[in-house]
């Protein structure tokens, strides 16, 4: 599984993976048996590792879309499935064009060997001397913040006096804990706290352990100082060894 999630990195995204799978059929996009393609895609994505969730989300989104196409194509009336399939084919064909063009561009990328120079410096003043109506500032501001619909970041004054403490997120500690299991499925409970740098980090680590236990990703054995944490297989849910 580790290997699989690593290997998905070589794809630029779900579309790239789909094109790769289509390529194996040695037929054009319009002739590809779409249901077979969906099966193969889901086969690859099934192996995604949870740790890679962020990178995997785009692959999963596509998987959901494909599953939907597959589902509607099982219905007696095929119109929607046909429409969705055509849409997917269209997108794939467009992305294929994009890849082909990218390849051609990369062959032409020889111009990086031209060197230009910075403009010669003058002892001139570059000061702007046109005049504008004052209201242009207002219009530009409104344009910049998207007519007030975009949320503005907090003003600078709001930052005074916060920054001294760093807050450690529970999510980051979940990743940390799961990574620690990389070499073995069992770790001493206390080992997760050994290198903690702050109270906030220890609290976050503890909360992360509770969260993982609740999600049945880990279980405990032993007690007191000898307590150990066991990593459970993600797919087998709550089974305890």
């Amino acid at each position: 599984m580790e290997n699989l999630s690593y290997k998905l990195d070589i794809f630029e995204g779900p579309m790239d993976l789909l094109l790769f799978l289509i390529g194996k059929h040695k037929v054009s996009i319009t002739d590809i048996p779409i249901l077979e393609l969906i099966e193969q895609y889901l086969g690859y994505v099934k192996g995604l590792h949870v740790e890679n969730l962020e990178a995997a989300s785009e692959f999963l989104e596509m998987a959901a879309r494909l599953v939907y196409i597959k589902t509607v194509s099982l219905l007696p009336a095929h119109e929607e499935a046909d429409k969705l399939t055509e849409e997917l084919r269209g997108e794939l064909s467009e992305y294929l064009d994009c890849q082909i063009i990218a390849g051609k561009l990369s062959e032409k990328a020889k111009g990086f060997n031209y060197f230009s120079r910075d403009p010669q410096e003058f002892e001139e003043n570059m000061t702007y001397s046109r005049f504008h109506e004052t209201v242009e500032m207002f219009r530009a501001y409104v344009a910049a913040v998207g007519k007030g619909k975009r949320k503005l970041p907090p003003p600078i004054e709001a930052f005074s006096g916060i920054v001294t403490k760093t807050i450690v997120s529970v999510t980051s500690r979940i990743t940390f804990i799961l990574q620690k299991f990389n070499d073995s499925g069992k770790k001493r409970f206390l080992s997760f706290f050994e290198k903690s740098e702050s109270r906030s980090e220890m609290v976050a680590t503890f909360l992360a352990i509770l969260t993982l236990a609740k999600a049945k990703r880990i279980a405990f054995t032993g007690s007191d100082e000898n307590m150990e944490v066991i990593l459970l297989k993600s797919t087998t849910g709550g089974k305890h060894n």
């Binding site: 579309m15 194996k24 997108e91």
Partner: protein, 192 residues
């Protein structure tokens, strides 16, 4: 003004500008019309070639830029201690392809074509000066529009967008990369 003087002015102005300079500006400097300016520029380009100068004249859209000849790139990098450009990633090339053929274009359109988030790549390409913002689309949210720059033309050795490679014919079969094939030596069955 004689030919030699006109060329000297062109040389001085392009040298001082550094950036690509509109033909209209060059004509203004020469105190002449655009047609005459183009002739002077042609002569200047020929004289660079004739005397085997270390410089070459590039035409990028309606702009002209003086650059070093590509043969000397390695020497210049070595002496001026310029780090070698990391080659553009395939993600960057794909984004450039989408922008070049559809400009002006929004980020969400690019992402729709590629099926993945492109914020990082877009900001890298902006920093490298290959694409730039060029206004906003008059739609809810007023999304920014992007277009390619003259530097893009220079880096890909073309003098205008019309020289971009033609779009491929629609009925192309996909060729699977052998390298990718190797990388994914597993099959889904094995992982179960």
């Amino acid at each position: 003004m004689n030919d030699i003087e006109a060329q000297a002015i062109v040389e001085a102005i392009l040298f001082a500008s550094g950036d690509p300079l509109e033909i209209a500006r060059i004509a203004e400097a020469l105190d002449t019309d655009i047609e005459t300016a183009v002739i002077v520029l042609e002569k200047f380009e020929n004289s660079l070639k004739e005397r085997q100068s270390g410089l070459s004249l590039l035409r990028l859209d309606e702009k002209y830029q003086l650059c070093t000849r590509t043969e000397y790139a390695d020497k210049i990098r070595a002496i001026l201690e310029i780090r070698r450009n990391t080659p553009l990633s395939s993600a960057a090339l794909e984004v450039l392809a989408v922008v070049a053929y559809n400009q002006p274009i929004t980020k969400s359109y690019i992402e729709q074509v590629r099926g993945v988030d492109c914020s990082g790549v877009i900001s890298t390409l902006s920093q490298k000066g290959l694409i730039e913002e060029c206004g906003r689309l008059e739609l809810p949210g007023r999304p920014l529009l992007y277009a390619t720059t003259p530097d893009f033309l220079r880096c890909f050795c073309i003098s205008s967008l019309s020289e971009l490679p033609n779009l491929p014919e629609k009925d192309n079969a996909v060729e699977t990369d052998e390298f990718v094939e190797e990388q994914i030596s597993f099959t889904p069955e094995e992982t179960d």
